[in-house]
Amino acid sequence: MKIINNENTFSILFFLILFIIIYFVNFFVGSAIFERTVTNLFIYIILVVGLQVFMGNSGILSFAHIGFMSIGAYSSGLLSMPIKMKGFVLRDLYPIFENVAFDPILSILIGGIFTAIIAAILTLPLMRLNDAAAVISSFALLMVIHSIVVGWSAVTNGPRTFFGLPKATTLEIALIFSFLTVIFAFIYKNSKFGLLLRASRDNDIAAESIGANIVYLRWFAIIASAFLAGIAGGLWGHFITSFSPKSFYLKETFLVISMIIIGGSFTVTGAIAGALLVTIGYEFLRWTEKVIKFSDVITFEFIGLTEIVLSITIIIFLITKPKGLFPFKEIGDTINKIIKKE
C-alpha cells in the first residue's frame, strides 16, 4: 500500500526541518534551562501526537492518556533504576526486580510495550462506548490507574517521590523519538486503519456499513496511542528522574487536552502546534514570573496564573474555533497546494 503520499512527505519533511531548526537554535542559545524546555517540549510532542493517534482519529476524548504515561514512567524506571537506589526507594520491592538494572533506553522501550499491553487488556471493552459514556469511562480509567500507582507501594513507592532513575533522556534522544512518533502518526492516519477510523469518527453507522469494525479500529489506535504515551512517560521519567503520582493527574491531563484542543485534534500538525504553542505560552508566563521575582519590585505571588490563562484560552478556543488552529488540513497539504500553484 502506498502510504507515504505527497501530503505525508511534505508534512514529515516540514517537521523534520522544524525540529532541526529548534535543535540548532538550542545549540546556539546554549542555556541549560532552554535545553530543558526544548527536551520537555519534544517529550510532550510524543505525548500529544500519541493522544492524537487515538483521540484525533476516533474523535473520542480520552482522559486516560496521562495514566498510560505514568505506567510507562514507573515501569521503565523500575527496570532501569540502579540496584543501590532500589534499596533506598523501594524497600518492599519484589525479589524478581531487586537485581534488575537494564539500560535506560531499553527500559523505556519495554515500558512502552508494557503500557501498550496494559492498555490492550483494559480498554477493549470500553471501545464500544460513545460520547459522554466514553469520556466518563476514560476518566474512571485514569482514576483507576492513579489509585493503583498510589496504592501499590511495593513497586511505585506509593504517593511518595519515586526517585533515583538514571538521567538518560537527552535532547537528541527526545528529538529522535519525537520525530519517529510524528512519522508514525502521519503514516497511521493515512493507512487503512487510520482512514476507516476517521470515517467512523465522522459517522459510525455509515462506517459500519462499509465494513469498518469500529471497536477493533479504536482498540488498535488506543494501543498505539498508549504505547507512545508509555514511551513519553519513560523518556520523561528518565529526564526528570524523580516524580510522584501527582505528576500524572488532572493538572497534567488538562495541559495535554489544552494542547490538543488549541492545535486541533483532527490533524497531527494541530497536535504539534498545540504542544508548541502551549509550551511557549507556559514558558513565557513562567519567565514573567521569574523576572518579577528577581526584580524585587513586586512581591505579589503569581501562582496559578498560567493555569488561569490556559483555561481562559481553552474556553475562548472552544467557542470561537472549536476544531483548533489546524482543523482539517495538515501543513503538508498547504505546502503541496502552494507548490502546485507555482
Binding site: T161, S242, S244
Partner: protein, 393 residues
C-alpha cells in the same frame, strides 16, 4: 528587510553578551531557593523562607555579607511538586546560585539537592528529617538542617513511655511522604525497644479527608491505647484528631514537627487542641529555646511586621547562617570546601547545636530535639531532649 535582519542579529547578540556578562561578573553571593510557597509543603517551607530573608538582611546590614560580598536570596516556588522543585533549582543555579536551599522534606527537597549536587554546590534542606536526606542518597555536598527522624521519634517514644508512663500506643502512618513513614517506623522500633506495646498500626493517606475506616478498626480493639501517635502532615492532623475526639476517644496525641504549624492549632481550636504533644526544632516563645531567640524574634518582627509563630522560621535563619559560617571558615563559596567546613565543625544555632558526620556516614546531624505541648490550641515549651539511644537509620 535585510537591514532589519542585521538589526535583529545585533540585538540578539548584544542581549546574549549582556546576559552572559551579568552571570559571569555578578558580585553578589546568590543563595537560590526552590522551597515551596504553595501546596501542601507550603506551611513548612514558607516560614523557612521568611526566616532566611531575615538572615540575609542581617548578613548584609551587620556582617557585610558573606566573604565581603553582598548576599542575595531568590526563591523560586517549588509548588510542592518534585518536578517543579527540580526545575526551580536548575533555574536559580543557571542564574548563578552558589548555595541551594531545598524544601523541608525529602520527597519535595530531594530534586533540589540533586540539582545542587550535579552543579557541584552545597544544598541544604530547611528541615527534611527523613534519613533519606543524606549524603548517601543525594551526594557528598548535601545536608539537612534538621535532626533526623531517628532522633525525633526516639524523643517522642521516650517522652511517652519514660516521662508520662504511657505503656500502650496506637500508631497512624500517613503514606504521603517518606517523612511520615519513617517517623512512624522509628517510633514503633524505639517504643517497642524501651518496653512499650503497640496495640495497632494503621495507615492513612493525606487528603483522604475520611478517617472512618481507621476509626472502625480502632474501636474494635479490646482496650483503648494510652497514647496515639499520628504521623501525618498539614491540616489532616487536625482532621484526624477531630474525628477521634468526636468518636469519644480521649487518649493523648503525639507527633512530629509537622504539628508545629499555627494553621493546625487553629483548626484544632480550643475544643480539640489539648492533650497534644509534638517534637520540633526549637522554641520561639522565649529565651528558653535559645539565648539569642529574643533578638531573632525582634529582627524578624522588624522585617515582617509580626512575630514568628512556628519553629520553622528558625530553620530558615539557621540554614542561611550555617552557610555563611561555613563559607567564612572555608574562605570560599566553593561547594567542596564549604561541605568540608560543615563536616568538620560544630555550629551553635537557634535550633540547637549541630554536628555533622562525614559524607561516608551520611552527614548524620547530631542534634537535640525540642518538646512542645498544646493546651486549648496554645503551645507551650516542655524543654530540650536528647534521646539516649536512638535507632539506627
Amino acid at each position: 528587510m535585510k537591514k532589519n535582519l542585521s538589526k535583529l542579529c545585533i540585538f540578539v547578540f548584544s542581549t546574549i553578551v549582556f546576559f552572559s556578562w551579568t552571570t559571569l561578573y555578578a558580585k553578589e553571593v546568590l543563595i537560590g531557593g526552590a522551597a515551596c510557597e504553595t501546596g501542601m509543603q507550603a506551611p513548612l517551607d514558607t516560614p523557612g523562607i521568611n526566616g532566611a530573608k531575615v538572615a540575609v538582611k542581617y548578613l548584609n546590614d551587620e556582617k557585610g555579607g558573606i566573604l565581603g560580598r553582598p548576599v542575595k536570596f531568590v526563591n523560586l516556588d517549588g509548588k510542592s511538586d518534585p518536578v517543579t522543585v527540580g526545575n526551580s533549582a536548575l533555574e536559580v543555579i543557571a542564574q548563578g546560585a552558589e548555595f541551594i536551599i531545598a524544601p523541608c522534606d525529602f520527597d519535595f527537597g530531594g530534586p533540589a539537592s540533586m540539582a545542587a549536587q550535579d552543579a557541584g554546590i552545597v544544598g541544604m534542606s530547611l528541615c527534611a528529617s527523613d534519613p533519606l536526606f543524606s549524603s548517601w542518597s543525594l551526594g557528598d555536598k548535601q545536608f539537612t538542617l534538621s535532626m533526623w527522624n531517628t532522633t525525633m521519634s526516639a524523643t517522642a517514644a521516650e517522652f511517652a513511655y519514660n516521662e508520662k508512663g504511657w505503656k500502650t500506643a496506637y500508631v497512624v502512618t500517613d503514606q504521603i511522604i517518606a517523612y511520615t513513614r519513617s517517623l512512624s517506623e522509628y517510633f514503633l522500633v524505639h517504643f517497642d525497644a524501651i518496653g512499650g506495646k503497640i496495640l495497632l498500626e494503621d495507615t492513612y493517606t493525606n487528603g483522604d479527608n475520611d478517617f472512618s475506616a481507621q476509626l472502625a478498626r480502632l474501636k474494635a480493639l479490646d482496650e483503648e491505647p494510652d497514647v496515639i501517635f499520628i504521623s501525618s502532615y498539614g491540616i489532616d492532623i487536625a482532621l484526624i484528631t477531630k474525628t477521634l475526639r468526636e468518636a469519644g476517644i480521649t487518649a493523648p496525641i503525639l507527633g512530629g514537627d509537622s504539628y508545629d504549624d499555627p494553621s493546625v492549632w487553629e483548626a484544632l481550636g480550643t475544643k480539640f487542641g489539648s492533650d497534644v504533644y509534638f517534637v520540633t526544632h526549637t522554641w520561639m516563645g522565649s529565651a528558653e529555646g535559645h539565648p539569642d531567640m529574643p533578638e531573632f524574634v525582634k529582627l524578624y518582627t522588624d522585617y515582617h511586621g509580626s512575630a514568628p509563630d512556628t519553629a520553622f522560621v528558625a530553620t530558615g535563619w539557621d540554614t542561611v547562617m550555617l552557610f555563611a559560617q561555613a563559607a567564612e571558615i572555608a574562605g570560599t563559596t566553593d561547594g567542596a570546601a564549604v561541605a568540608k567546613a560543615l563536616e568538620d565543625n560544630e555550629f551553635n544555632l537557634l535550633t540547637g547545636d549541630l554536628d555533622y558526620s562525614n559524607a561516608a556516614d551520611g552527614h548524620y546531624p547530631y542534634k537535640a530535639a525540642a518538646l512542645v505541648g498544646l493546651t486549648e490550641g496554645n503551645p507551650s515549651f516542655l524543654g530540650w531532649r536528647n534521646p539516649e539511644n536512638p535507632p539506627a537509620p
